[in-house]
Symmetry: C2
């Protein structure tokens, strides 16, 4: 076998290991019987480690080098290999034993987080989390080069976005939006609050899910909406991107917007040029871009007055009895209710970035050594009070409500960035399309196609910043986000 | 590493490959989006081939030999290795290229069977099936030793049961039961036939499924009932045995008995001594024994007058509206209706063995060269007419209604054998337990524990014939089956 044949042969192996790890993880989260979950975890980990074992080997690495240096390969193959090579150059600086230990620790930390949520005893989780912070610091020490410390992590999650960038971005949000947030939090509710207590038939909720999926062009040819407590999206390949949601009688709107969010993620993955499927150039270009797509569908479209106008008669018809005493305003104001509730994933668009800022500040302090894991809870509550005027009652609805820290840090800030990118995209999309009219008609196809053409099709073949530039003609610019939020919530609350 | 360490290391690898192949297959059948099914198939095949590649290697084989000859290992490890060794001795006689080609052909044949069911054009499937018969003949040629031809296949499926045994068994069934079958087929129906047209709410059917699973001690700790068109059971390990069923509004009873059937299989797997889990001694002792357990719960218990007595008020309560015009007799006689309908899986207990005999006769002729694949349809219809007086309208409800032949031959006769073993077990169980009373009370726990103690716990650590002997004190004896069927149906039809 020559170097390219060798590469292709190993790629097949790696693709299959990855496929297995993906499916087993999805299975674990959805249908796997409880007693088999540990084993399931073990097996998906096994395949992830096999993958790492192969790709981090000298043999694999020098073969990539050989191809790049000596062979004439087509442009796309070259790009794929270059991207892999660059990533492996980084990974190979870290001792393999450390990487393997971290796989195991992450798996343990995740399990202990789940267990803590049941017992409300976070001691084991916190012990694991402390170890994870230390292990991450050690890992980062091998990677310091262009960036140092927490910036290495931020760059890993969102290339070339650093503390400097986020500080600037978040300071601007604080300056421009916090006064509005504070003002709105002191106003009375604009909807009949009994809407929170309605029980919505689960079967009808499933019909609504189906309807929303159809509207978004997400079918069982290429997708599925399974059920989990924490909804997520899992992109297997160009023909298979799975989502999950959660059904509870009282949580119709939570389900509705969770579906739009996850199917937003799925739409991105499914519209990537299939030529990149199951390679280093597949999937989204970055975390923030991925989040921009989910939040675009969930919020920018889903919670817009126009789309709710489209949805209202459908909801009234489907939930005739349940919604008979509620008006359009009740629904529209309820789903855009600015509140100081504790749960990030339930947050309205205006308070959302502040949930992120709290987490970002804590992460920064964990990595500059000014905060220890045992003090996260106090710091979180202090910050929450500062922004929202209230304090969470416990860690489950406070500092440890999210699963994310079980597997690492640096992810949260990309969420706020994603929301902001969504607004920037909207601004430019409106130059080409009458988005308001389309949303009012429930005609999402042109919107989906615009995103395919300007964002999705590239997959990870170009960098995050390049995608933003190509789609909007300018760099990331938070102005659109601030304008969008101000405009929307000033109107809703007649400020 | 010494030989045993090497063995254990490879075992871990094999267990993980098998776990992956199993989960991916289950996923493919249940939630996998349509467009990814081919890829899913490809990946599970990949892991099955990897497994075969390792176990059929000289290195692995001679290492087993080394352990058996030179090391002192505990009794169970020895048994596991001996069983593997024996199986590999066989497999190693077959050229690996043939085995691999057969994996691919089976996969193709299965897909073409599924496609033919949609188009009703069986030409591609039949071409594949012809190839498969030839490939099987070639494979068997390497294995002839104690047995020749079709007997090698029968022995593979059910050790030491040969054409001689089945011929004797089936001749006896024809002699003893065919006259009764013929007589009953000429009698009028004993129930209100409108029961076939009732639509049963799917949600309530799901409640019934849950109730039956609870009754059978099958919980989401260790199991799940997913949905597929063709129900099956997939035993992953001691903590995870999955089943599937199918919901259709008109098919309440079909779903009910399918659940009891599959959970019967699952009960077997779950009650095997966990020490054998994920090894060569795990799972059931044989195909026929497995089928004896599923059909025990489905028919011997599930369709008994006593269990239906228990179930009747539950059904009447759950389906108040749907069943308001139907009596106990309507239900009991309907679910035991002896009929000449075409579908094997829907067959009543009395006609069931004749569905099997037809398939057995066709398989025998395929392998002794007196029948070609292209003539299966005519032969099937001819035989069906002989036994049931009618002819299937097409291949979909006739000769190719089952998926089984897509992956090989020799399996069907074990179904009839399993049904017969179930009756033999019932006879001896009744010496220890008041089975009728327990069924009437819906108290299935003592029955399940009896089966654990006398059949299940052994797993595959002892042979099929040994299990029968241990459980009943005698060899396989078809007398109990004939007595059981005669007694039951003579009573029902007042013969």
């Amino acid at each position: 076998m020559n170097a390219l044949e060798k590469y292709n042969h190993t790629q097949e192996q790696l693709r299959n290991y990855r496929y297995a790890a993906n499916i087993i993880s999805f299975d674990e989260a959805t249908v796997c019987p409880k007693k088999d979950k540990r084993r399931s975890n073990e097996v998906s980990n096994y395949f992830s480690k096999l993958e790492l074992d192969i790709t981090s080997s000298d043999e694999y690495f020098y073969n990539l080098e050989k191809i790049l240096k000596t062979l004439n390969v087509d442009e796309i193959t070259k790009k794929k290999i270059e991207k892999e090579y660059k990533e492996l150059e980084k990974i190979r600086r870290i001792p393999k034993s450390l990487l393997f230990s971290e796989y195991d620790l992450i798996s343990e930390t995740t399990v202990s987080w789940e267990e803590a949520r049941e017992s409300l005893d976070y001691s084991i989780f916190e012990a694991n989390l402390s170890k994870l912070v230390n292990m991450e610091k050690e890992r980062l020490s091998y990677l310091e080069n262009k960036y140092k410390g927490y910036n290495v992590l931020l760059d890993e999650m969102e290339e070339d976005f650093t503390m400097e960038d986020y500080d600037k971005f978040f300071d601007l949000l604080e300056k421009e939006l916090k006064p509005i947030l504070n003002k709105i939090l002191s106003l009375p509710k604009k909807y009949n609050e009994k809407i929170k207590d309605i029980s919505f038939d689960i079967d009808k909720q499933k019909k609504l899910t189906k309807m929303i999926c159809d509207l978004m062009g997400y079918t069982n040819e290429v997708g599925v909406v399974a059920e989990t407590i924490h909804p997520f999206t899992n992109g297997i390949n160009a023909n298979d991107v799975r989502t999950t949601t959660r059904y509870e009688e009282k949580l119709l709107f939570s389900n509705l917007y969770s579906v739009m969010h996850e199917v937003g993620h799925a739409t991105y993955e499914l519209q990537v040029d299939p030529i990149y499927s199951e390679t280093s150039l597949g999937g989204g270009a970055s975390c923030a871009l991925h989040e921009s797509q989910s939040r675009f569908f969930e919020n920018v479209i889903g919670r817009s007055k126009e789309f709710v106008t489209y949805l209202y008669p459908i909801l009234k018809d489907l939930f005739k009895e349940e919604l008979k005493d509620y008006t359009f305003d009740d629904i529209y104001y309820y789903i855009n209710d600015v509140s100081n509730q504790f749960i990030r994933t339930e947050a309205d668009e205006l308070s959302y970035p502040f949930h992120i800022i709290i987490r970002y500040k804590i992460e920064k302090m964990l990595f500059d050594g000014t905060l220890e894991v045992k003090d996260i809870n106090n710091k979180f509550n202090e910050l929450f009070k500062e922004y929202f005027g209230v304090e969470p009652k416990n860690k489950k609805e406070g500092c440890f409500q999210d699963i994310h820290w079980s597997s690492g840090f640096g992810y949260f800030p990309t969420y706020a960035l994603g929301s902001a990118i969504a607004s920037q995209l909207l601004y430019y999309m409106k130059r080409d399309l009458d988005v308001d009219k389309l949303a009012k008609e429930g005609n999402l196809d042109p919107i989906r196609l615009w995103l395919k053409e300007h964002v999705h099709k590239y997959g990870a073949s170009i960098k995050n910043k390049e995608v933003i530039k190509k789609a909007t003609g300018e760099e990331f610019n938070p102005k659109y986000y601030i304008d969008y939020l101000k405009d929307k919530f000033e109107k809703i609350y007649n400020l």
